[in-house]
């Protein structure tokens, strides 16, 4: 790796960061991509997403080779093609022109870029970097999303902040006490110790809170599994980061002293907060999340309640993240100060910086272009 590099060069203090390109990013939920083409900007690249007749998801650059009209406004034709809405050029799913209505031949350079796609874990993933490196084995592990041992659902947040700020938010859960005081926050969170470990691609932050009162969210979940439950619990939060932007958080509580820290979770409830953050632009992100649980799998009621509950919690994060990004942009001359609680997020940042270095790119980002807002009517 880059261990020979002077420590200063991997400073890990950039407030917001560019995104690596050699990575799989979620472009959409599986159900969002249909035979009707849709537009979505992923990693700063406008994409047209659609499915072929046999159900394969396709990602093409959303700009026709001819005059750059958006293909997402076009329609699917034939087995796997899409027709430009402007002058009717038809491309196949590899982005190659198969028909040019206004001439008898096909121009050999008539192509639009087609990006590698993998469908996995209920998501459509795309690769915008070097296609020779697009190995499906690099899709981050989110197997709880479609495993028969887990049930749950999620939503997408359009977060008006750099993707790194969302990662920071999820890598340090002490904010729960302040941002989510009415649902999952409790003072033991910021009081309890945590252990951070990492390797080349992953970071783990583990925190246990023993013999505490369950906050409202967890009391409800315990009662779903153990009707009428009351009493103390042991609570855990084990954050798993996988580069560049997937965070799966193993969360739960078990009746206090029944052996959860030693590995017996049978007297408790376990959930996985699945998060994968896709940069949209330098300052906006598609934040795909789901809450999966491994108990009462057949209850759609619980699935819906959990999804709506977590949606409320994440709404609180969204407000904070947008406000933080606005404050960062409004104070370009102020730096971050990084604290001990930021260790997990700092390791994630370092891994991302090394991915950027490997792509020959800098972790430094251009300052925000000044924005001019119209005031009044």
């Amino acid at each position: 790796m880059t261990d020979t590099m002077p420590a200063r060069q991997t400073s890990t203090t950039h407030k917001v960061m560019p995104h690596p390109l050699n990575a799989w990013y979620v472009a959409a939920w599986d159900h969002e991509v249909t035979r009707k083409p849709m537009a979505r900007r992923i990693a700063d690249r406008p994409l047209a997403l659609y499915r072929t007749e046999d159900g394969r998801a396709v990602a093409l650059a959303d700009a026709c080779w001819h005059r750059l009209a958006p293909l997402s406004m076009g329609k699917v034709v034939g087995r796997d093609g899409i027709q430009c809405p402007y002058h009717g050029i038809v491309y196949d799913s590899l982005g190659r022109c198969v028909s040019m209505p206004a001439q008898e031949t096909i121009n050999p350079s008539a192509t639009v870029p087609s990006f590698p796609v993998v469908e996995r874990y209920r998501y459509v993933w795309v690769w915008l970097g070097d296609p020779a490196l697009a190995d499906p084995a690099l899709v981050p592990d989110m197997h709880q999303m479609d495993s028969p041992e887990w049930a749950g659902d999620g939503l997408t947040i359009h977060a008006k902040c750099n993707f790194q700020l969302v990662l920071d938010n999820l890598m340090d859960l002490t904010h729960e006490e302040f941002v989510h005081s009415s649902t999952i926050g409790q003072e033991e969170l910021s009081e309890s110790d945590f252990v951070t470990t990492h390797d080349d691609r992953t970071v783990k932050v583990e925190r246990w809170m023993l013999n505490i009162d369950p906050p409202p969210f967890w009391l409800k979940n315990m009662r779903d599994k153990f009707p009428g439950f009351s009493g103390k619990v042991d609570r855990w939060q084990i954050i798993h980061f996988e580069a560049p932007s997937t965070i799966c958080i193993d969360v739960g509580v078990a009746m206090a002293g029944t052996g959860a820290p030693e590995g017996d979770r049978s007297q408790g409830v376990n959930g996985y907060v699945m998060n994968t953050i896709t940069p949209e632009t330098d300052r906006t992100s598609h934040y795909f999340w789901a809450f999966m649980r491994n108990y009462r799998l057949d209850s759609q009621l619980i699935t819906t309640q959990l999804r709506q509950g977590v949606n409320g919690v994440f709404g609180e994060d969204e407000v904070m993240l947008e406000a933080q990004q606005a404050a960062i942009d409004a104070n370009p001359d102020y730096e971050f100060y990084n604290l001990n609680i930021d260790a997990g997020g700092m390791w994630a940042r370092r891994i991302i910086e090394r991915m950027l270095e490997a792509e020959g790119r800098s972790a430094r980002m251009a300052p925000a272009a000044p924005t001019f807002r119209r005031t009044g009517a």
Partner: protein
């Protein structure tokens, strides 16, 4: 990375030159603003012909990972207007104007199998593809055809690197390639990438069509001007504008008309876009259609031509074409 056609011009210094096959010289450049060169990319660069700057394109045969070293290989075209001759006089330390890599011939990863087909100096556009596919362990064959082994650039390197994934056809060894047999052997899920002389590519395109293979699976790049006949001097007349110009052997009809002060429309200048189309009103001689814009039917009509590449050749009497421009 996304294919880019945006020309970013910069200066590049010649690092080394080396003759690697009969008439073919390898030229390594160090560009000022390096950019990664994907398979299928080329550089546009400015040559000097008769004291005039002219643009030529050369495929990137190989490059360093960051693109700070880029190798081109230039065939000294016998009927050259001067571009390849100018390239052959370059020496280490010389500085020229080049673009960053441009992409019109992108290689797609993930096809079930590939056939790469190179004729002569066309290997320059194909070699990087073969190496990239070998690196990702793709199922591919490189078919490389030439007049003689000594005229085939990179032959020995590629044989050593690719082993049984390369097939060689050499005219002077009596192993000339049969296009029909080659196309016959192609399975319907094969993607073909080819670059070579117009006759070879045209024969492949015809057999491809005859077999009803999907046209979008036949990818090719044209190096431009090579035609069906040797270039000759001919006369072009535009009665509407009162223009009569002689197109010398070493200039294109488009250039000759521009020289004569006609405001011509064009874009690609290599027979692909059709913007330089002129309507033929009368013709003494034959049209040597060198474009890929018109269909065979349109070419046989002899009613229009792409004047950036196509020429007129004599059939007995001196060649003259009378045209209308757009």
């Amino acid at each position: 990375m996304v294919a880019s056609n945006i020309e970013v011009w910069q200066r590049a210094t010649v690092v080394s030159v080396e003759d690697i096959a009969t008439g073919i010289r390898r030229i390594v450049l160090a560009p000022e603003k390096p950019a990664k060169a994907d398979p299928g990319t080329h550089l546009d660069l400015m040559v000097t012909i008769d004291g005039r700057p002219e643009k030529r394109s050369y495929s990137i045969v190989d490059a360093s990972a960051t693109g700070d070293r880029v190798a081109l290989s230039v065939f000294r075209t016998p009927t050259s207007r001067g571009g390849s001759i100018w390239m052959h006089q370059l020496a280490p330390g010389d500085v020229l104007e080049v673009t960053q890599p441009l992409q019109n011939f992108p290689l797609r990863y993930g096809a079930p199998r590939y056939l790469l087909l190179a004729g002569g100096v066309g290997i320059t556009a194909i070699a990087a593809m073969a190496r990239a596919l070998a690196k990702v362990n793709a199922d591919f064959t490189l078919v490389y055809a030439g007049r003689s082994r000594s005229a085939m650039a990179y032959l020995r390197d590629l044989e050593a690197e690719l082993g049984d994934r390369i097939r060689i056809h050499v005219d002077d060894e009596g192993t000339t390639m049969s296009v029909a047999a080659l196309v016959e052997s192609i399975s319907a899920d094969t993607e073909v990438y080819m670059c070579g002389p117009i006759r070879l590519m045209d024969a492949v395109r015809r057999s491809w069509g005859d077999r009803g293979l999907p046209p979008q699976q036949l990818r090719y790049e044209t190096f431009g001007a090579s035609g069906w006949f040797d270039p000759e001097e001919f006369t072009v007349r535009i009665p509407k504008l009162g223009v009569e110009a002689v197109v010398p052997k070493g200039r294109s009809m488009l250039e000759a008309l521009e020289d004569a002060g006609v405001d011509m429309m064009f874009d690609c200048r290599r027979g692909e876009c059709g913007l330089c189309e002129v309507r033929v009103q009368s013709l003494t001689g034959n049209i040597d259609h060198r474009d890929v814009f018109y269909s065979d039917r349109q070419k046989e009509d002899r009613a229009k031509m792409c004047c950036c590449v196509s020429r007129v050749v004599s059939a007995g009497a001196p060649a003259v074409v009378t045209i209308e421009t757009s």
